[in-house]
Structure formats: C-alpha cells, structure tokens
C-alpha cells in the first residue's frame, strides 16, 4: 500500500537523521538584530549584560539591521541560510514577516514568563500581541516636538498646530510615508478619531487627507530617518516636526536643546522581537531561553532606565524608576504616562497591512507632483 511505503520511508528517514536532530542543547552564540544607537544600547544594558552574567558561556553579537530586516530575512530564507536568532522589528514588520512565513509563530504563554503575580504573559501583554509571531517589548510613540524659542508666547498644545501656518510659520518636518500623516490630516480636518480609518478607506477620504496636507506641502521637509527631525529642530531648520518620542527625550533632556514636547494625538506603535523561521534546534533553544529572560517583567522595566519608551507589560509599569545616567524620574517621560496620554491615537496595523501598498503609491505620486 502506498501509505505503508511512505510511512516506512519517512521512518527510515527519521532514523537516519535522528541522532543529530534530537540534541536539545543550547547554542553558545546568539545573533541579535536591532536598530543601533541609544535604543540598542538600552537593550544591551538591560537584557544582554545580565543574561551573560548568568550564562557566561554565551556570546551575543549585535547586527544593526532592523531597518531592512524584512528584506534581509526574506533573502536569507530564500538562500536557506538564516544567520539571525532574534530580530527586533516594529509591529507592522512583524505582521509582514508572519504573513510571509519568515517569522515563527509562537505560543506566548508557553514561551514567555508570567508576571510576578502569576498573570499569564498573554494577559500581561494584553492586546499588544498584534500578531502570532510578535513578542512585544516597548510602546513608543510618534509625536511632535517644537522649538520653544520659535513659537512665541503661545506654545502649541494641539496637533493641528502643524497645519496652522499663520500661528506657527516656518518649516515643519513629517515622515516621508503616508502612515500617521494621513491620520493627523484627517483629525485636523475635523474627522472624529474613531472614524479616521473608515474615512481613509474611501477615495474621497484619501482626497480629503491629501487636500489637508496640500495646505502645508510647500513648508514640509520630509524625513526618512528617525534622527532627521531632532537634527532639524536643533539646527532651527524647522519649527515643529514629528519623530519618535525617545529621540525627542534625548534632544530635550540629554542635549538640552530648546525643544518642547507636544504629546497631543501621539500615535502609539509597538516594537518587539520575532524569532526567524527555520532556526536549527540548538539555536532556537537559545533564542527562546534568551527571549524569555529578556521580556520578563523586571527586564522590560529596566530598559526604561536607559530610554524613554514604555515597557510593553502592564506589570512592568509600576517598576519604572530613574534614568540610569541622568537620575531623573522616567515615568513622566513615558508615552504611556497618563499626563502624556490624554489624547492618543492607536495605529491600526491590520488596516495599514492592506492599504499600505496602495496608499504609498498614491502618497509618492502626490509628493512628486
């Protein structure tokens, strides 16, 4: 019978490769992929240093490739040689990698540590688990910073200041992609927050967002790297500009530039780990062991000592303390702090996964006109 033959063949195959495949040892090397800069440093100090102190046999290597992680992972996968063990990506990239089958689907409760009070990981992370492959790490936000010396006596308190050329003349910087900008444009055009994506789904809604952006188009410098806006603000090139809140924290608190934070309508986004698909067993075991350690309640809270991004676990929030070097209280600088999070906007991952290709083409065409 066909089945018997196939099963026999499969059994023979298992026997043949068996002895090498069953070894459940942990690999001694781990390659971590992240964004470089202050963020990667915070990860190194909060996760890797204590982990290596516990496991001295481990060598951790950083690869600063998160910016192009999706493309590189796909290329590695096609070549059949995945050299990364754990990759730090934003949530939308995690969804893409999961869709493409390049990231491993995981059981969050099995893989990740429960909170100290016994709450399961999936409850502790809550709705931040936006994909079956995604292990949330931080909540960051894209928000606006402004030059305190260029706005006179009326510092902006409302995100629509970006579109107000009379009150706040000068250049502004926005990211060179439709995400976030289209939402802000609609909000400032009077669309209620809850309806933004419904409106943006229609051609008229998109035209409306572009029309709003048209009003400031000539005064916008479009950025593509997170460091651009802080630099432009420090140089006085722009009066107001969007970037990640951690970058603004560093400009304001660490470099003492005359820059103020506008938390209004900040857009929350997530960053976290994925485990690439197709790791060998010993490397997978090591990656799992590390990620369990690196995303426990204390480690996530520790990371906030070095950078002003909010820990993704609910149980970590009360543990956030002082900045390791500056000695200032970090809680008021967290995007999730109640004072800062009075008016927030939640980025809709599913929606953008669908509309990204289409809207990006339209956005680029609009920019080029």
């Amino acid at each position: 019978m066909k089945l018997k033959k196939t099963v026999l063949a499969a059994a023979a195959l298992t026997l043949a490769v068996g002895p090498t495949a069953v070894s459940a040892q942990l690999a001694d090397d781990i390659t971590l992929v992240s964004w470089g800069g202050a963020y990667q440093k915070s990860q190194h100090r909060a996760y890797v240093e204590p982990y290596i102190a516990d496991n001295p046999e481990v060598t951790a290597v950083w690869d600063e490739s998160s910016y192009e992680a999706v493309a590189k992972l796909r290329a590695m996968n096609e070549a059949g040689n995945v050299t990364w063990d754990l990759v730090d990506v934003v949530a939308s990239d995690a969804i893409r990698l999961c869709d493409e089958g390049l990231a491993m689907e995981i059981d969050h409760d099995e893989l990740l540590a429960p909170a100290p009070d016994g709450t399961t990981a999936s409850e502790d992370f809550g709705n931040l688990i936006v994909s079956d492959c995604f292990i949330p790490q931080i909540v960051y936000s894209t928000t606006f910073g402004y030059r305190t010396d260029m706005v006179g006596s009326t510092p902006p308190t409302d995100v629509c200041a970006v579109f107000d050329l009379e009150m706040y003349p000068g250049k502004r910087s926005l990211e060179k992609r439709p995400i976030n900008n289209m939402e802000w444009a609609l909000i400032c055009d009077g669309v209620p927050k809850a309806d933004v994506y419904d409106v943006l789904e229609t051609d008229e809604g998109q035209a409306r967002a572009f029309a709003k952006l048209d009003t400031i188009k000539d005064d916008v410098i479009w950025w593509s790297a997170g460091a651009d806006t802080p630099q432009l603000l420090a140089d006085g090139e722009v009066v107001i500009g969007s970037t990640y809140n951690g970058r603004l924290f560093s400009v304001i608190e660490e470099q003492n530039q005359p820059v103020g934070m506008l938390w209004d309508a900040q857009v929350f986004d997530l960053d976290g780990w994925i485990i690439p698909a197709g790791l060998s067993e010993d490397r997978l075991a090591r990656a799992k062991d590390f990620v369990r350690f690196a995303t426990d309640t204390q480690r996530l809270a520790d990371q906030a000592k070095y950078i002003s991004y909010g820990p993704a676990r609910m149980s970590s929030a009360p543990l956030v303390g002082m900045h390791a070097d500056l000695g200032i209280d970090m809680a008021p600088h967290m995007p999730t702090d109640p004072e800062n999070a009075k008016n927030t906007f939640l980025y809709n991952y599913e929606w953008w996964a669908d509309y990204r290709d289409d809207l990006d083409a339209k956005f680029q065409a609009w920019l080029a006109q």
């Binding site: 493309a71 796909r74 689907e105 290709d357 080029a368």
Partner: protein
Amino acid sequence: MTATDSPVLTADGTPLKASLRRALRREKARAFLLVSPLLLFVLMTFIAPIADMLFRSVENGIVHDTIPRTVQALRNWDPGESEVPGDDVFEAFYTDMVFAVERKSHTRLGSRLNYERTGLASLFRKSGRRVGTFDTKDYADAFNMLDPAWNDPATWDMLAESEAASLPHTASAYATWLGVVLADGGDPLEEEPWDVLYAALYSDLMQAPAGGFENPLLDDAQSAATGFEPVSLREQFGAIDEDWLDPQVWRTIQTYAARYTPGYFLNSVDLKLTADGVQYRDEGDRIYILLFGRTLYMSLVITISCILLGYPVAFLLANLPLRTANILMILVLLPFWTSLLVRTSSWKVLLQQQGVINDILVALRIVDDASRLVLINNQTGTIIAMTHILLPFMILPLYSVMKTIPPAYVRAAKSLGATDWTAFWRVYFPNSVPGIGAGSVLVFILAIGYYITPELVGGTRGVFISNRIAYHISSSLNWGLAAALGTILLFAVLILYWTYDKIVGIDNVKLGG
C-alpha cells in the same frame, strides 16, 4: 603515392596538422584555465543576479503553487455568465486554503495579491484563521457515524489508490494531506482524517452517478450522503467576509493565476493588468514614468555640470608643472576617498536654510534673512551633491586623455597664427573629446542608478527611480516590481549606450593612453 600527396609528418610520425592542432588546443585550454576564475566570478556575481532579476520581473508561480485546484477550477469560470464563481471553485478553494494554512503560505499569497487589489492581504489572513472551523465538520461526523472505518486513515489510503478515477477530488486531497502530515513530522496512521477530506469525498459522491460504486463502503456512503444536510462553502466563505462574494476578488485571482505575468512590467510604466485588459492607472497613482523621466533628465544635468566643472580642473592638472599638479590631484582624490555618506551629510550642513552658505549670504547682506535660499531637499540639492560626488569620475578620464595631447599641437597652431581661443577650440578641444565621452558615460551611468544621495538631500522632487526600487526591495517586499523597474533601467542604459556608440562611436572613448 607521390610525396606531395602524403601529409607532412613531424619527427615522431604524426601528421603535422594534427600535432599543431593538439598544441593549439593545449594552449587554448591553458588560456581558458587562466581566465576561468574571473569568468566564474563574473558569472556568479554579475550574470546570475541579472538573470535572476530578469526572471523575477515576470515570475508569478505563487498563485499556482498555493491554490492549484482553485486556479484549475477558475479556468472554467466565465465572469460574464455568473456573478460569483460556482460551488466547484469554492470547494477547490476550501481544499487549497486548508492546506495552504497548514503550510502557512496563504498569507504570503495574500500579500502578493494585495499588490494588485487592496484588501486581499487581510482577507487571506482572516480567512486562514477561520477556514479550519467550517461546518464541513458535519460531514465528518456523519460519515464517521455511518461507518467507523472512515475514521481510519488506512481506509482513505486504500480508496485513494483503488478508486482514484471515480473519486478524483478525494484522491488529490488525500495525496496533499499525506504530504502535509508527513512534512509536519506526524504519523498519518495515527492522524484523524481532516474535515477537508470528508468534504472532498462528499463532493465526489454527489457528482458520481447513483449506485456507480462497487465497493460496498462507498455504495453505502453514497446512498447515505444524499440525505446529508449540504454545507455551502460559498456561504461559509461569505460568512468570513462578504468580499469573497465579490466577483472582482475572483477576477483578480483569475487574472494573476498564470505562472508568468506581464503585470509587474505594466505596473512599472503606470499601467495595470486587470480582468478587462491593460488599463492606465488612476491619475493620482501614476509615478513611475515621471520618475524615469526625472532620473534621465537629472542625470543629464549632473553630467553636463560635471563636464563644465571638471574640464578646467582636468586642463589645469594636465598642463601645470608636475609638483603643483600633484597637489591639485590630491585635492581631487581626497574627497574621492571620503565616505559617500560623510560628503552627503556635509552638504546638508552647508546647504540648509540655517546652514553655512545661507548664513554667509545673510551676513554679507546678499540675501534677506526672511528669504533664505532653499538649496536642499529639492532638485538643486541633489544636483549639487551628486555633481560633487561624481566629479572625480569626470576629471580622471579627462586628465588621462589630456595628458596624451602633445603640447606641440597647440604650439604649432599658434605659430601658424591661431589665437589662444582658436588654438584651444580647433586643436586642443577636439583632441580631448574622447575624454569627455568616457567621463560622460561613466558619470551618467553612475548617476542613473544613484540612490542614497537623492534620498538624503533630494526632498520630494529630487528623488530618482532607484529610490523607489529600494523601497520595493526593502519595505514593500514587492520584489517583482523592483525587478521590473530595474530591468527597464538596465535596458534604458543599454539603449543609451548603443545610441552613444552609433553617434559618437565607442572607439572614441578613452580612459587613458
């Protein structure tokens, strides 16, 4: 036999011709062995990637590989006749989806099709989560109630072999199932048959003529199946999302079912392949033709700027005393050795509105403080920065050609009464044209593929087509489109090169000597 007829022999008695041929062959083999490392290197790092790119720009196997039964069933669907495809398509799609979900390839197909129709990515993702919990479970329960043999994979295996002709769907679904279970490391003899097999069996039984089975198990099953409550897979899919009942979704799948598609190339020139044929993209979506045009235009401007700036420098280099020329040469080469990113970033510091150049102009009261010049984040920025970066590629070939122009020519012209200008224009310049040609070809071809500098200083109107290629490679993952854009760029360069050869002649290009 006369001596003239017999072949000339060598000392060892072999004919001279053969001996010579052998010697030549050995020589050739040796020469080939010498170049073979380079040949292999070029093949692997240059020819193979280009061939791969050409292939990717038309390759579209993913639809056929992921949902083969659906593709097959859709061939018989005429969108003109029925609004939504018939049940056979939904049955095939259900079978395909169950296995695709198991292989985790359905979301990949979703993101591929999302390039052509917005919304399909989430439709496939969402359906993947629900397709395992369809009401087809009722079939499984009913068949198992009828005869416990149906719960035994051995029964299916036997039928898949002996009744393959009368149970085509079942046999094909079973074969895929077996593959999936084995690939997962499971034991098919222990695995409970999945709902999808029962659904296929039900469909086969209902389509077969009544009483057409000799096998008593099947005969019983067939007579019992007529009494089952039918499960409409169309409704099941419609319940997940009503988009599955939208004929446009199915027409998109049908249009992109082929293994090879011109779709990426059409997208690259602002067209699109739809079920109704090739159409223009909406006004607001057209971007590639504009970018191709801009890339060519700006590369041309950069090349001309390089000629204008580089020619006098190369002239000085070639005609100054050696000591001074060497110092000048270092000034040309130093920036050439500096990192591209560093040079681009320095241009940012210089050119921005609060930058060095604007500050000086304001301090000198040439420009009003309120109306500082916009020199960056536009085409001006790209042209300035790229001209600077590519200048050495113009100066060096120009210099090496000018070095070979004998000074006696100009002296002779002057002694015959030519003015300085005439001597330069009629004698020196024509001799330096091959250098201009070489420099222009180099600069133009380098400029056309530039991407990092336009990205950093180009703003919105100073970006090139390569920036979009980079975007599709690293962000949108639309590698097919990136490959098509790259292919077009490659052929544009080849055509320009060919035109150049026809008009100027490539023999006139000299990189030196």
